[in-house]
């Protein structure tokens, strides 16, 4: 299915499909519940966010690797003023440590501020934003 044509500069979210974006597998993987990034097959460096060229050695021979979909909530904060259109208020921002090398800034969803504590276990939540596109967030582990 083709994406609808519209003025993309007023869209909060990136163009995710193969027609527009060379890292489209990242979004396809998200739809399968997988959080992935690229690793260089030449020098083995793993990048975040995903790339089309390795920032360490400039090779374009990259492969997709799975990242953990569970992590620990390192710290969090609640945004009460200035929450942008399209996001619920209060907006919960968290730092999610998914392994020793990668801590992701992410929205924390499906919870209330008073239920959160530093160090708690969280898991990937894939959120549809329209008929074709998805974004990721984290939610408390069930």
């Amino acid at each position: 299915m083709r994406e609808e044509i519209y003025w993309s500069c007023i869209d909060l979210f990136p163009q995710e499909t193969e027609e527009h974006n060379r890292i489209f597998p990242f979004y396809n993987h998200l739809k399968e519940g997988r959080l992935t990034t690229t690793r260089c097959t030449a020098c083995n460096a793993q990048a975040w966010p995903p790339r089309v060229v390795c920032p360490e050695c400039m090779s374009d021979k990259l492969e997709w690797v799975d990242l953990p979909t569970q992590g620990l909530l390192d710290t969090f904060t609640i945004e009460e003023v200035g929450v942008p259109l399209g996001f619920e208020r209060p907006l919960i921002h968290g730092l999610v440590k998914i392994n020793d090398n990668l801590t992701l800034f992410s929205r924390i969803v499906d919870t209330k501020p008073e239920e959160l504590r530093e160090g708690m276990a969280v898991m990937l939540k894939v959120i549809p934003i329209d008929r074709e596109r998805v974004i990721y967030a984290f939610k408390p582990q069930e």
Partner: protein, 388 residues
């Protein structure tokens, strides 16, 4: 390399302005030219314009020639727009400096402007989401970074024992200083209790811990030493510049309570100027949030790591202390139209070293400008001096 001086500096009234970017460029240019008797637009051979949101908020590209036209400048050596979000103006100053030092221009106006108040406030918050990594950070609702600095504050409090009261003291100092600065957005004095009791923005940051949304413009003129001496016997020189940038995406930020971009650039700036942190008399640092000024005082070397809270508590960053930090009122009280903050800081320090600032630091000879930008990504540092 030729020596480069600042010979003029000025800003328009900052705040919620019933004025366009074009209007404010004109006002700031008038103040800037007015600060240097005899200086005329036709003396200028280069112009750099810094702005972060003119393209997004007012739908205007190719903006440097517009700024030049407004100010009656017809550049024959240098023209362009510079953008590094909050560091746009300072970066433009650095580029003008190198252009003049290398002999390609003689006299460059650096002017910055942004208008962030739009008829519907939601449009501003929406547009500000262009600032972080759009595809991987902004999708989480992350705009300009209050949430980031709230997390930094929490981590600094946990690691070093910094308190909300110490952060409040930064805001109290800022507002008191700005109360005498007629160009600042705020002239209201606040107390520690008022700062602590203000409404939360992103906890633990409350209203006065955060710089406001601002419309504004500011300008400085840089000149080669020999041209500067046509206008003044005692120029304010740029002694050194330095920059560093560590990341864009939030996950690639090297440290939360230690800022590598300062720890890389500040020693270079001091070494290039042949100075040490204790030599600085007056500083304008990037107090986008109260916690920022505390960490910057540490990482610039004004105090030891982790003691930034005590530094402000003991009055060491105030008049009569070790170094007067943000005598203008800083970003917290002057406001922060991103693309113009660098020129405002530079203009303040030019006036401090010339001896005619609103809150004059008596006998100031060495001044430091620090501007941070992005998701706590970059630092741009300029050291200025007089009688050197």
């Amino acid at each position: 390399m030729r020596r480069v001086a600042v010979i003029a500096g000025g800003m328009c009234k900052w705040g919620v302005r019933n004025a366009t970017v074009r209007d404010m460029i004109g006002e700031a240019g008038k103040e800037c030219f007015g600060s240097c008797p005899g200086l005329r637009p036709k003396d200028i051979d280069g112009l750099l314009f810094s702005t972060a949101f003119f393209e997004k908020n007012q739908f205007q590209t190719h903006s440097a020639p517009l700024a030049a036209e407004i100010l009656g400048i017809k550049p024959t050596n240098l023209i362009g727009k510079v953008e590094l979000l909050c560091g746009s103006g300072t970066t433009a100053i650095h580029l003008a400096y190198t252009h003049i030092a290398s002999g390609y221009s003689d006299m460059v106006m650096v002017v910055g402007a942004d208008k962030l108040y739009l008829p519907d406030k939601q449009e501003t918050f929406f547009n500000l989401q262009a600032a972080c990594d759009r595809d991987f950070d902004c999708i989480h609702g992350l705009g300009v970074p209050p949430p980031l600095f709230a997390m930094i504050a929490k981590k600094h409090m946990k690691r070093y024992g910094t308190t909300e009261e110490q952060m409040a003291l930064v805001a109290v100092k800022s507002h008191r200083n700005a109360s005498r600065n007629k160009f600042a957005q705020f002239q209201n004095v606040v107390t520690v209790d008022e700062v602590l009791g203000a409404r939360p923005i992103v906890r633990p940051l409350k209203l006065y811990d955060c710089c406001p949304v601002t419309d504004g413009a500011a300008a400085v003129v840089l000149a080669a030493e020999e041209r500067a001496k046509d206008f003044t016997k005692d120029p304010v020189y740029i002694l050194s510049i330095a920059q560093a940038s560590t990341h864009k995406n939030s996950a690639n930020m090297p440290g939360w309570t230690e800022w590598d971009h300062i720890m890389i650039s500040a020693p270079k700036a001091f070494e290039r100027a042949g100075l040490k942190p204790e030599d600085v008399d007056v500083a304008e640092v990037h107090d986008c949030f109260t916690i920022s000024e505390i960490i910057e005082c540490e990482d610039l070397g004004f105090c030891r790591k982790g003691e930034g809270g005590e530094f402000v508590e003991k009055g060491l960053s105030d008049f009569g202390g070790q170094v007067v930090v943000n005598p203008s009122g800083g970003l917290l009280s002057c406001g922060h139209p991103f693309g113009a903050t660098g020129e405002r800081q530079a203009s303040e320090l030019f006036h401090q070293l010339r001896g005619d600032a609103f809150n004059q630091v008596e006998g100031a000879r060495i001044a430091l400008q620090h501007t941070m930008s992005g998701f706590c990504s970059d630092s741009s540092i300029t050291i200025y001096g007089r009688d050197v």
